[in-house]
């Protein structure tokens, strides 16, 4: 869907739906309605703002009849690259607790560099190892930030 108009229409519908969900969720917030500002008031207001914004955007896009700008979505290769990088980032986050920050850092940095440039195997390994050491010695040892250590903490 490269048409700005169609994308705005779809975004408008999605945002209006999000607004409707917020309004519904706000109606279930418990609290004293006799307060000067009951706890559900602001969620209601923001939910209505979101809903109205979504409807407005959808209607404006639907009624638009001028020259339609094109949205530059990536080609298939681009989507694959984004998907793999997001997957690597998700794995990095998911394994941070069991493997610890230094080890996951090393694996993620080395893996991501290698994926984006297969010729840089040595750079990937050295940068990965260097990053892991920086995380361990600078952030964990020196600054004493409480990052998960995984097996290194045992």
């Amino acid at each position: 869907m490269r048409s700005q108009r169609k994308c705005d229409l779809a975004a408008g519908v999605f945002i209006a739906f999000l607004g409707a969900v917020v309004i519904l969720a706000a109606s279930q917030i418990r609290g004293d309605v006799e307060e000067r500002l009951p706890p559900r008031t602001l969620p209601y207001v923001v939910g209505f703002m979101t809903f109205a914004g979504g409807v407005g955007l959808g209607v404006k896009a639907y009624r638009f009849r001028g020259k339609d700008p094109e949205i530059l979505w990536p080609e298939k290769d681009g989507w694959v690259r984004i998907g793999v990088n997001l997957l690597l980032l998700a794995l990095f986050t998911a394994f941070m607790d069991p493997l610890g920050m230094p080890i996951t850092t090393g694996l993620y940095v080395a893996g991501a560099i290698w994926y984006m440039d297969r010729k840089r195997i040595l750079t990937a390994l050295l940068t990965g190892a260097g990053s892991a050491l920086v995380v361990y010695y600078l952030f964990i040892r020196f600054l004493e930030l409480t990052f998960p250590l995984g097996p290194l903490g045992q």
Partner: protein, 503 residues
């Protein structure tokens, strides 16, 4: 609190001793590093180093901690400009034009003007601190919850109106920002809101994770998509701003100093607010507002100036009333109390030598920071020369460390990842990002001041209009909204923010 030349000169004599100069230098160096490093802000930096300062005399200790505070303000813009990671909300406006300049090969010039503007505004802020503190602090006392609410409402409406033709998208972005901040517990009553039964959501979404996702993660996605070999393809040209550019930014620096200083006197009025207002004012008065968002050098000078002037201004209520205006100053106040010094009007009478030595050391610290930062400009700008396949994962690593170390919750990293995807979609669909960021940052203060105002007025909303200062802010906000609606009604073009008004 009284000003006297004798006391100021005595302060300079104290601040210029070798020992105090050394600790001011150490503070500036550590502060700059804290500003550049992800995951550790000035509050955390001062808190970590606070126990270590017990080994040095009180005056030197406070001089060093104050230097860490304003040094971090200098360093904070570096990652925003070079790799589009604004580690603090106050660096967001700097990233808008700073990163655009970097993409044009002018990272050095952006970093240079940032350091110069920080120096000018920091020094002007100190002049204000030295001479006008009593008068200005009295004015700040006139601000109650209604005035704060009106001020923040005005800041939000100004930023939405910055969206240009994409007013609806600006409004939606604001709604999403407010929505993100409403998730979790009500700040006053503790009631759970919009958590959908998810325990992690009870703690709310931290705005730093959101900012990191919107800017850094989405930027990496954009570069990954096009298989970039370097984060920006252009060659670096010019390590420093030209004299003409510095002169061009002269007025900007003075104006942003004024905005940053006066608004910075207000407790709770963080640099995140003043930098956006300074940026907006500069764009509005510019003869070529279309350059903003595309690498206008004034767009870097304005927020950086406001940021540092706000930092200087924060010392006025801290010294005069014992009132910290932000978390970092609250930690600094803890340091003063650790040494048995009670900030407040009596501090100037009981320990004048100490107070004036600290104030004098800030003038010296500003010079140290300028001298230290300008030669480093080339070093930071060279980061852009690192091939993207290597730099991209390192940016992500910094983002993960930054997001995780706010509350040491893995959940915050997932939030950054989610908002990375949101930011990518917003960029592609031409939604403005600044209203979302500002709404996220201001939401809690906005809500608290609204609740307090309605308590004071016993539920009457007229309180925002029948007090002169609040009324003036509300009038400006409504005028800004009316102008935006007028532009929207007249426009028959599709909603596009990025091309004509950027964020």
């Amino acid at each position: 609190m009284l000003f006297s030349w004798d006391l100021l000169l005595t302060g300079f004599v104290d601040a210029l001793t070798w020992s105090n100069l050394f600790w001011a230098f150490v503070g500036c160096l550590v502060g700059t590093l804290i500003g550049v490093l992800p995951g550790i802000g000035p509050s955390a930096g001062i808190a970590i180093l606070l126990p270590m300062t017990t080994m040095i005399p009180p005056t030197s200790g406070i001089i060093m901690m104050a230097a860490i505070f304003y040094g971090a303000m200098y360093g904070g813009s570096t990652t925003a400009i070079v790799v589009n990671i604004p580690g603090e909300a106050s660096s967001v406006p700097t990233a808008i034009d700073g990163y655009e300049m970097a993409k044009q090969g002018r990272a050095g010039a952006a970093l240079g003007i940032s350091a110069i503007s920080s120096f000018v505004a920091g020094t002007l802020g100190l002049v204000g601190l030295t001479f006008f503190a009593p008068l200005l602090a009295n004015f700040a006392l006139a601000f109650g919850p209604p005035e704060y609410f009106a001020l923040m409402f005005m800041a939000l409406s100004l930023v939405i109106s910055l969206s240009g033709r994409a007013l609806l998208k600006g409004m939606i972005a604001t709604s999403i920002g407010l929505l993100s901040s409403l998730i979790g517990q009500n700040p006053l009553t503790g009631a759970a809101r919009l958590t959908f039964g998810v325990v992690d959501l009870m703690a709310g979404l931290n705005f730093i994770s959101i900012i990191i996702g919107l800017f850094a993660v989405s930027e990496v996605m954009i570069n990954v998509e096009r298989a970039a070999t370097h984060i920006y393809g252009t060659k670096i040209r010019g390590w420093m701003p030209t004299w003409a550019e510095i002169r061009q930014c002269g007025g900007t620096m003075v104006r942003s100093s004024g905005i940053g200083f006066f608004l910075g006197l207000l407790p709770g009025c963080a640099p995140a607010v003043t930098t956006f207002i300074a940026y907006d004012v500069e764009k509005r008065i510019s003869k070529t507002p279309e350059r903003f968002g595309k690498g206008a050098i004034e767009g870097v000078a304005a927020p950086e100036g406001a940021n540092n002037a706000t930092s200087s201004a924060g010392f006025v209520p801290l010294f005069a009333f014992g009132l910290p205006t932000g978390p970092a100053l609250a930690v600094l106040m803890g340091g003063l109390m650790m040494y048995g010094l009670q900030p407040g009007p009596m501090l100037f009478q009981t320990n004048p030598q100490f107070v004036w030595a600290v104030i004098a050391s800030m003038y010296i610290g500003n010079v140290i920071l300028l001298v230290m930062n300008l030669p480093l400009v080339g070093f930071w700008a060279r980061i852009a020369l690192i091939p993207f396949p290597v730099l991209g994962p390192l940016i992500i690593l910094c983002s993960v460390i930054g997001a995780y170390s706010i509350r040491f919750m893995l959940f915050d990293v997932w939030v950054a990842l989610l908002f990375g995807v949101v930011g990518y979609a917003m960029r592609k669909l031409h939604f403005p990002i600044a209203p979302l960021v500002l709404a996220t940052v201001l939401a809690q203060m906005l809500e608290t001041s609204l609740q307090q105002s309605l308590l004071i007025s016993q539920g009457s909303w007229l309180i925002f209009f029948n007090r002169p200062i609040a009324g003036a802010f509300m009038a400006l906000a409504l005028a800004s909204i009316a102008r935006g609606i007028w532009i929207q009604v007249r426009s028959h073009a599709p909603e596009i923010a990025i091309d004509d008004a950027d964020v």
